[in-house]
């Protein structure tokens, strides 16, 4: 689980940041910038928007750090800001469906089709290392993510890409644990259908 070791020094850095220590805030930014950007990019599908939303997220964090009371972890508070900004952006913008990721094409070539069949196969277990090496398959997977509705997309990204547990997802999205469970299940089922449709 990627999120297992992320809270080690956060509370100290947050306290120092609240006291006006700029280097501590910079350390928090440097620590989380790539993960925030990755989640936002997977959600919005556009690199420019992702960079802008990441920047906006941290600006908002800096401006609001004094109001952070520590009722939740800094990690979930940070991602809540990022996801809310991104969801609002996706709702406002129609670019999500026509983003740069789908420009890479949805018709897989022979090798990619075979890899995708392996993923969808029910008689073998996919090798993550092999999957990660296929840029085209990754592009298809990202495209499939964008086919989901935003609430489902957010929950599957936070779980399967960022690696949050259900409680953290519930905290970030401000929803019940049961909702996380059911929404995640539907998102995964939907993703499989999208990928199957790509092979047809």
């Amino acid at each position: 689980m990627r999120a297992a070791s992320i809270n080690i020094d956060d509370s100290v850095l947050v306290q120092q940041s609240q006291a006006g220590d700029t280097p501590s805030m910079e350390r928090l930014i440097l620590k989380y910038q790539h993960r925030i950007y990755n989640v936002i990019l997977k959600m919005c599908g556009n690199t420019d928007d992702a960079a802008e939303l990441t920047q906006e997220t941290f600006v908002k964090v800096i401006e609001s750090i004094e109001k952070f009371k520590g009722r939740s972890s800094f990690y979930t508070w940070l991602f809540r800001i990022a996801v809310n900004l991104t969801l609002n952006h996706c709702q406002r913008s129609a670019r999500t469906a026509t983003c740069s990721l789908d420009a890479e094409g949805t018709d897989p070539d022979g090798e990619t089709s075979q890899l995708l069949r392996d993923v969808l196969s029910d008689d073998r277990v996919a090798d993550p290392a092999v999957l990660a090496q296929s840029h085209e398959l990754c592009a298809l997977a990202k495209q499939a993510l964008l086919e989901l509705e935003e609430p489902q997309r957010a929950v599957v990204i936070l779980r399967d890409i960022e690696g949050m547990d259900y409680a953290q997802i519930a905290d970030v999205l401000n929803i019940e644990l049961g909702t996380v469970r059911s929404r995640l299940s539907r998102a995964r089922s939907h993703l499989r259908e999208v990928l199957e449709n790509m092979l047809k």
């Binding site: 910079e26 930014i29 440097l30 910038q33 790539h34 993960r35 925030i36 950007y37 990755n38 990019l41 997977k42 690199t47 992702a50 960079a51 990441t54 920047q55 906006e56 941290f58 600006v59 800096i62 401006e63 392996d118 993923v119 969808l120 196969s121 029910d122 008689d123 073998r124 277990v125 996919a126 993550p128 290392a129 999957l131 990660a132 398959l137 990754c138 997977a141 990202k142 993510l145 599957v156 779980r159 399967d160 890409i161 547990d165 259900y166 469970r181 059911s182 995640l184 299940s185 539907r186 995964r188 089922s189 993703l191 499989r192 990928l195």
Partner: protein, 341 residues
């Protein structure tokens, strides 16, 4: 296998280790005994593996700098539209408007004073009480009791007040000059303590020569002021403060009372401006013969009068056509010497 939402949710939670031990055992038992459940579980696991293996994107390398720049913009934007900022700006604007209005009012006031000093009646203290230069006060002058002997029809009637610390020397020089000008018979003089009064009634040319001859004496005067009376008895005279000998000669040399009054009024304004200008920038120009405000204002330049080598008078009367008549016009000039000590 047709997707079963309840089964998928159970399998999804099983993959994420979100089930209780009892539920987990139940799922394992189902998958072991039902191949369809096992295949569905494998499908979902492979799908999750695909998304889990997606390469993580990295944020732009200059993100931190971008954040700092964005924060600076935010700070600037927040400084401008805040309520306090607006009210302070409005206050500043109001203050600027107030200062501008005050400056305009002050300017109008100064101009009004200039106009008033030009057209206002002479105060009881006499001309000298308005002379800016010199340490004297109106009380030292006493009331102006001297009146012109003769009122010219088309000439000039005025009173020249000169303050000097060398009253005796100046008085001696003036008396001699009057005598040399051939005006002795036309002069009444009175002496009273610190004051010498010469009432001169002569032709314009002779009075003009007298005034011109006083130019070398001017440096001994602490102040000099000329009051030009109007022909209408009730109208206020024109007062020219800090007058120079050239200005006096120029006023005297005018062909009519109106022309003398107009010239005197121009000099009054000019001298007043010079007195009130910071550093008296104008004054040197006034006191210079060439390239001065005389030329700029197109005012008449005084010229020294007196016979030239050919025996003809050198003095220039402004209208050559009526030169003879103007020379003969009677001029009344009262010269008052005051002790400035």
């Amino acid at each position: 296998m047709k997707p079963n939402p309840n089964l998928d949710e159970l399998l999804s939670s099983f993959m994420d280790d979100q089930l209780s031990p009892r539920q987990r055992t139940e799922v394992q038992r189902l998958a072991a005994h039902d191949p369809q459940v096992a295949r569905r579980l494998r499908q979902l696991q492979n799908c999750r593996t695909l998304f889990n293996s997606l390469p993580a994107a990295k944020a732009p390398s200059d993100l931190l700098e971008q954040i700092k720049a964005s924060l600076e913009r935010h700070t600037l934007l927040q400084e401008q539209p805040t309520a306090g900022g607006r009210s302070f700006g409005a206050w500043q604007l109001a203050f600027r408007r107030f200062v501008s209005a005050a400056a305009v009012i002050a300017l109008v006031g100064v101009l009004g004073m200039v106009v008033y000093q030009i057209v206002s009646p002479i105060p009881p203290g006499g001309v000298g009480s308005r002379v800016a230069q010199g340490p004297s006060s109106p009380a030292q002058l006493g009331p102006m009791t001297a009146t012109p002997i003769l009122v010219a029809d088309a000439g000039f009637t005025g009173r020249l007040e000169l303050r000097t610390a060398k009253l005796v020397q100046v008085d001696t020089f003036l008396g001699r000059t009057i005598e040399n000008s051939g005006l002795s018979s036309r002069v009444e003089s009175t002496v009273s303590g610190n004051q010498r009064v010469y009432r001169i009634a002569g032709t314009r040319a002779s009075v003009n020569r007298l005034v011109a001859s006083l130019s070398g004496l001017w440096q001994n005067f602490d102040s000099a002021a000329l009051q030009v009376d109007r022909s209408e008895g009730s109208a206020a005279p024109v007062l020219v403060e800090a007058i120079t000998p050239e200005q006096t000669a120029s006023i005297v040399a005018q062909g009519s009372t109106k022309a003398s009054l107009d010239t005197a009024a121009n000099y009054a304004i000019m001298n007043h401006m010079a007195k009130n200008m910071p550093g008296n920038e104008i004054r040197p120009l006034i006191q210079t013969d060439s390239g001065s405000l005389f030329a700029a204002a197109n005012l008449p330049q005084p010229r020294e009068t007196g016979p030239d080598n050919t025996g003809n008078p050198k003095s220039e009367i402004r209208n050559p056509k009526s030169k003879e008549a103007q020379d003969k016009a009677l001029v009344n000039l009262t010269i008052v010497l005051l002790n400035s000590r």
